[in-house]
Amino acid sequence: MTIAFDYTRSLGPVLGRFMAGLRDGRVLGGRTPDGRVHVPPLEFDPITHEPVTELVPVAPTGTVISWTWNARPLEGQPLDRPFAWALIRLDGADTALLHAVDAGSPSTIRTGTRVRVRWAPTRVGHINDIACFEPGETAAENVAAPESAEPVEIMTTPIRLHYRHTTSDEEDAYLRALADGRLIGQRCPACRKVYVPPRVCPADGVVPGEVVAVADRGTVTTFCVVNVPFAGQRLQPPYVVAQVLLDGADIPIPHLVLGLDAAGVRMGMRVAAVWRDRSEWAFTPENIAHFEPAGEPDAPYETYAEHL
């Protein structure tokens, strides 16, 4: 599965001016009280811990301090063809900046190579306003716009990562049963409680034993009515999320209760699973669309009080 979000980074006074400089086509360094110029700038002086306030321009040209060859560029990197990563000390700076160098081939870059900034065609106040560096002794072009007073406040950074999740044996069996239209639990050999979905008993820390069939109906122990939209939500509010204690299980599962007005849902209400059409079944809990009233009398409070 992929997790992706466009993070909004607020920059503060130092990085805000640094990014504004990039937007305007100039690189700024932060001068610390010892006279050293740091690029990228530090927000606080490492020796005195005082805020850095003085930003000074440095050249768009510099020297490669270290490099490596990146033969297979990855998602999100500055170039989509093979390039060099390099630590580059810009002329006028005392520290080095990490960036990409569009060197063409590994034979055209070495420690000491002179490089210059290649600016992005459109610049917004982001580290990517430097598209990359390229070999060269002098600045390619003067792109610097008149200095504008406005520091950049927020910089957007998309983060996109991909993960492959792995089920446990118990989860695997549970999903296989669901694909077959069945609900199963497993009994803890220590406390004898039936867990649905089956899992290592959280109370005893032991691997579950006996597989137990549980009913696809049960009792609402407690619930809430979700009226509010929020990020990551998969359903349109309002809806009822209830804890449903399935018959034969010793722990409730959270699920939707639909098929009646939200105001009609009660603690103790008996509900039954509504399965999706058999043709849609897969190895997923989503085979059960939701629960709805089973048409049975409510369960007495005492029968579920210990599951609250």
Partner: protein, 351 residues
């Protein structure tokens, strides 16, 4: 104050499920069994893991299920390699808040593209948006070391040949992965889990005939800036080693160095004697690897193969954060003069 010892260790490189629980249950059982302790006899539990490794928030919460924490337990978690969780547990015993502790780490490094995930450890404003992968960052460090004449690509290949077999000559004939790193210079990323049981003073001696006493443990962090620091020096490791009382008397050393050149840098930073034997690894099980290095060093003591052993754990890009743990067959009080007492205020040397 109590002396603290490792009395049990277990590790697994079994593929980890998303929750980690299924891997941890047998690891806990083994570690406790070796320590001669029951689950309920553990006063404090502490773990290390990472949400970004797992690809979701609160990933450590599920792992608590493996403990069986009913009735409730004293427990804590660091978003770090579990070697630092061991440090926290060590403190609890020194402080008198616990007599025994179980420390565990776990990680499913293969769930995502680890080298891309680790880019998120870098400065989020000026570096991470470029997505420099972890191997490239390490390669930049290696080249500086080579350019400075500290080691050669052959030295690096020899480290790999020692741990993985083959000979350096043959390895050097292979293509670069991220110049100057070749595939053999990069530790294989693995899933894994590990657990260590600690006990204080008399409890340690009662449960284990030959506990591995922690005679010193310390850790430090350096500033991150890759272009700010001298990447060939590891001041945090040197300071930690000094405070942990690491000297030339150690018989065996277990370093946590995900890249071959980093072992070479660490040998210099820690001033390790040429006579010391190195315990190799077969992969980097993120977030339990550092703890496992302490476990491996402790096993050398507990088994009687060594009298003094040192372990190291690292975290962050290019050896940014480092922990050193020195273990011995005798409690710290019985060590020769000159070594540090545990938990003494060892900060005099820090600038």
């Amino acid at each position: 104050m109590s002396d603290v010892a490792v009395i049990g260790f277990a590790a697994s490189d079994r593929s980890v499920t998303t929750s980690g629980v299924e891997t941890l249950v047998p690891v806990f059982e083994q570690a406790l069994d070796r320590a001669g302790l029951g689950r309920r006899e553990i006063d404090f539990w502490c773990s290390g893991s990472s949400d970004y490794l797992a690809g979701r928030a609160f990933s450590f919460v599920n792992a608590v299920d493996a403990i069986g924490a009913v009735p409730p337990i004293a427990e804590s978690h660091v978003e770090m390699d579990a070697a630092w969780a061991l440090y926290e547990a060590y403190l609890k015993i020194l402080a008198g808040e616990a007599e025994t502790a179980l420390v565990y780490g776990f990680g499913k490094a293969t769930a995502g593209d680890l080298h891309r995930v680790l880019a998120l450890q870098l400065d989020p404003y000026t570096v991470a948006p470029l997505w420099p992968d972890a191997v490239s960052v390490a390669a930049l460090q290696a080249r500086i070391g080579i350019d400075a004449g500290l080691f050669t690509e052959r030295d690096m290949a020899e480290v790999a040949a020692r741990d993985r077999g083959g000979n350096a000559e043959e390895l050097l004939g292979r293509p670069y992965l991220s110049n100057p790193l070749r595939a053999h210079d990069v530790a294989r990323v693995t899933d894994g889990a590990a657990a260590i049981v600690l006990a204080g003073g008399e409890r340690a001696s009662r449960h284990r005939e030959r506990p591995a006493w922690i005679t010193g443990i310390a850790h430090r962090i350096d500033a991150q800036g890759l272009g700010e620091r001298d990447l060939t020096e590891v001041p945090s490791a040197a300071a930690a080693a000094r405070d942990a009382g690491l000297d030339h008397d150690v018989d065996v050393v277990a370093l946590h160095t995900p890249f071959t050149h980093q072992e070479l840098l660490m040998r210099r930073a820690l001033d390790i004697a040429d006579t010391a034997r190195f315990i190799g690894t077969h992969g980097d099980a993120m977030f339990s690897a550092g703890l496992s290095r302490i476990g491996a060093a402790a096993e050398e003591i507990m088994s009687g193969r060594a009298d003094r052993a040192a372990a190291h754990a690292t975290s962050g890009p290019a050896l940014q954060q480092n922990l050193v743990c020195v273990l011995g067959s005798n409690p710290p009080g019985s060590n020769p003069p000159g070594s540090n007492p545990p938990g003494g205020n060892q900060l005099g040397g820090i600038a």
